[in-house]
Structures are given as C-alpha cells and as structure tokens.
C-alpha cells in the first residue's frame, strides 16, 4: 500500500528532484564477506543504461545519442575494469523467449531491492530500525536466481544500472532562484547501482548505490570515472582495502 506516497516520491523526483540534504551512505557489504582474488567466476549482466537531459521542470528528455555513447563508453570502461577486479568477469549471454521474461523479472527485483536499500538503509533518517544494527547488511534475491539460464558454473552475478538526467541551462538558472527562495532543487539526476549477488545463496553481498554519482558518461573519461565510482570497494580486488576506506565521494 504505497500508492500515494510512491506517486509523490516519483513526482518529487521527476518534477523537482528534491533530495534530502542528509548525508547518505553509498556502499554496503555483507558483514564478513571477503573474496580472494583469482577464486571466483563473475557474470556481468547487460547493464541497464539511460541518459538524457533534464529540462527546467525536471522532466526526463531521453537522448539516444548520449545513451549510445554512454553504452559504448561504459562498456569499454567496464571491460577495462573487469581485468582489474581480481577475478574472471564474463559477459552474460542474453536469453530469449520465456527465459528473457524470467531475466527481466529478476532485474526488476534487483532494482526493487537496490531502491529499498537506498530508501531504507542508506538514508539514516529513514532507516528501518531492524536495519540499524551495527554492520548489518542482509539483502537477497533468493537462491533461485542461480536457475537463470547461462549462470551455471558462475559464482557471482554483477548487476549494473545507471540513469543520468543532465541539467539544462534553464534548470541551473532555476536552481539559483530556488536557492534564493529556499526551495532545494538539484540540477540533474545521476543515479547508479552496482550489486554483486552470490549465486550459491542469492544474497546481495555487495552493493554500491548512489542517486548523485559523478562522471559524465557521455565521455570516455567520465565513463571511466563513473565505472570507478560504481565499482568502488568492489570486493576481491587487489588493494581493495584502500578503496573501501575512501567510499563515498
């Protein structure tokens, strides 16, 4: 039962992207989870990528050229990063027919879980009391996710979602006026989540999720930066410890 609230939230996000000012966490790792370099086979699902501009009112204007650029740039950046993740990362072969529908439902479930992590764990003011306990990070897609075709023999699945709305000039000017009127308005939405799912248990062992990411995915350098941020603290990477310490921005 979340009709009205969801709609208000959607509207707030679409129309005016009013973002809580509180500090927000960006990374979660299942307590005690470690991944040794060179021990796991990871399947990278086709990243979900959308890029467009945000007009003054915050409406998303899709831009196919940008999305195509971003897909190429992020693909290249991911391929580059894959080699540095300390484990074998292979691209997923897309299924067709009924299997495609099953995959789509799991991707919808991953998005719902990632959104819930952001809404109910990463935002301290809205955190669920049962998720407040120290070092807790208990989220899952269920063990049956491993039954998706093409995942046999893999240890982990890596989900990646990015959505960018670049602020238009009009929006940036509005932001200045709004600041004078004390209405918080952000220019642009740059959200991304990357999550690692243990295919033996279905557990989300690592999630990096942020509604305000850096890196202009329309450019190669920016995509590198975005992928770097998305994969910040990625477990099992050589020298991962230093990156975890700098999680956030």
């Amino acid at each position: 039962m979340r009709f009205v609230r969801t709609m208000l939230a959607v509207m707030a996000a679409t129309m005016l992207a009013v973002v809580p000012v509180q500090a927000q966490e960006k990374t979660g790792v299942k307590p005690g989870f470690t991944l040794q370099p060179g021990t796991a086979r990871i399947v990278l699902l086709r990243p979900s990528i959308r890029v467009g501009a945000q007009s003054t009112a915050g409406m998303f204007e899709p831009n196919a050229d940008w999305t195509q650029q971003a897909r190429e740039n992020i693909g290249r950046a991911l391929a580059k990063a894959q080699g540095q993740l300390g484990n074998t990362v292979v691209d997923y072969v897309e299924p067709v027919g009924a299997d495609a529908a099953a995959l789509a439902e799991y991707q919808a479930l991953f998005d719902a879980v990632a959104q819930s992590v952001i809404e109910f764990q990463f935002f301290p003011g809205n955190r669920l009391p049962t998720k407040k306990r120290k070092d807790q990070f208990a989220w899952s897609l269920g063990a049956d996710v491993a039954r998706l075709p093409g995942l046999s023999g893999a240890d982990y699945a890596l989900f990646v979602t990015t959505e960018d709305h670049f602020g238009s000039t009009g929006r940036k000017v509005l932001q200045v006026f709004a600041a004078l009127a004390r209405v918080p308005v952000t220019a642009g939405v740059h959200k991304g989540f990357a999550g690692l799912v243990d295919l033996h248990t279905g557990e989300l062992v690592w999630l990096n999720a942020d509604l305000q990411m850096g890196g202009d995915v329309r450019e190669a350098d920016g995509a590198d930066k975005r992928v770097r941020q998305l994969l910040e603290g990625f477990p099992g990477r050589p020298a991962a410890a230093t990156v975890v310490a700098s999680a956030g921005r």
Partner: protein, 198 residues
C-alpha cells in the same frame, strides 16, 4: 507520457508541499501485544518488524521487514461505513469503493480487489481462493490474491484476513514479490494476522 499528464495536478501538489515529511519508522518488538492502525485491534508478533511512519490511510498502518516494495503487512483498523480502504489519489476522478455496514464476508476480497484495480490502474489484480476463517474472534474470511503494477514486470502475491465487526471492517493484508520475498516472510506475517484481537 499518458501517466505523466495524469500526474500533472498531483505534481502541482508535490511542488507546493515539497517532499512528504521524513518517515519516523519505529521498531516493533517481538513478544509484546501492540495496538495497530490507531484502532482497538491488537496483535502479538513473535518476531521483529518495522512500522513505517507513512500511513496508507487514516485508520491504516504498514509494517515491513525490508521495505514495503519487498514485504508489506498492512492493517486496516475498523474502517467505518462510507470510507475507502486507503487514501484516494483523486476523489473526483478515481473514487474508491467504500465500506458498508451490511457487507458480507465475501464482499471483503471484492472491496480490496476493486480498490487495487482503481488505485494501481491494473486489471491484473485477481483473487485466488476465498475461505472461511476466524479473525479477531469473529467469523471472517481468508483469501489470496496476485497482481502486477502497471508498467512493472514484478509479479506480486498477497493474502488477506478480515471480518466485519460491529459494522466496521478489520483487515490485515500481506503482500510481496512472488520471487523469493513472498514465501520468505509469509509465515511471520500469518502469525501476526492470526494473533489479532479486538
């Protein structure tokens, strides 16, 4: 594009009011009988839950384990005659059906079904089985349902237990994605619903 245009009036509200106030979610501890939905209905959970600060309606409240998109246990505490189950998106263009004192137990699942069909804009909402059940000491109903939200691919399952008591509707629903989440906390949700008293 269509949806967005329908939302425009609502957008104005959102723009005018800003974002809904921060939630204030509270821990529901195990082993203590607690009143729910601002009503005389009480339940005794044997495991922990979270009560969301945002309420679906005046005489309703929602508990969850992982967020209401993943598991949603909602209590309707004595909805009186003439009132809808939950807050209406638009009383003018999408009014919800209302409770009536003369409702039979078999009308309870129909009320939930029709309310969801209107509020979620989906004809996919269907009722599964409907059985007799004792609810809060009264002759009531237990039923199952399923639906997919408009523009979504995630199938959701649900079940409800309710009764008409003193001319008011008392109802507890549990719903979650059919993938993994529904089965995972169905037992805990059932335990809470079956502990209901008035």
């Amino acid at each position: 594009m269509r949806l967005r245009s329908l939302f425009l009036p609502l957008a104005a509200v959102a723009l005018a009011c800003g974002v809904p106030a921060a939630a204030g979610n509270k821990l529901v501890v195990a082993g203590q009988r607690i009143a729910v939905a601002k009503s005389a209905m009480t339940v005794l959970p044997t495991s922990e839950w979270n009560r969301l600060g945002a309420r679906p309606g005046r005489a309703a409240e929602t508990w969850t384990l992982d967020g209401d998109a993943l598991n949603d246990l909602t209590f309707y505490g004595g909805i009186e005659s003439g009132r809808p189950l939950f807050r209406e998106v638009s009383r003018k263009t999408k009014p919800l059906p209302t409770v009536s004192t003369t409702m039979l137990v078999t009308d309870i699942p129909a009320l939930l079904e029709n309310s969801y069909r209107i509020a979620l804009g989906t004809a996919s909402m269907t009722i599964g089985t409907i059985e007799p059940a004792t609810f809060a000491g009264a002759k009531g109903v237990h039923f199952t349902y399923s639906f997919v939200r408009q523009d979504d691919t995630l199938r959701r399952r649900g079940e409800g237990r309710g009764a008409m008591i003193g001319g008011r509707l008392y109802l507890i629903t549990y719903e979650a994605p059919a993938l993994y989440y529904y089965d995972r906390s169905a037992a805990a949700a059932r335990q809470v619903a079956e502990s209901a008293q008035l």
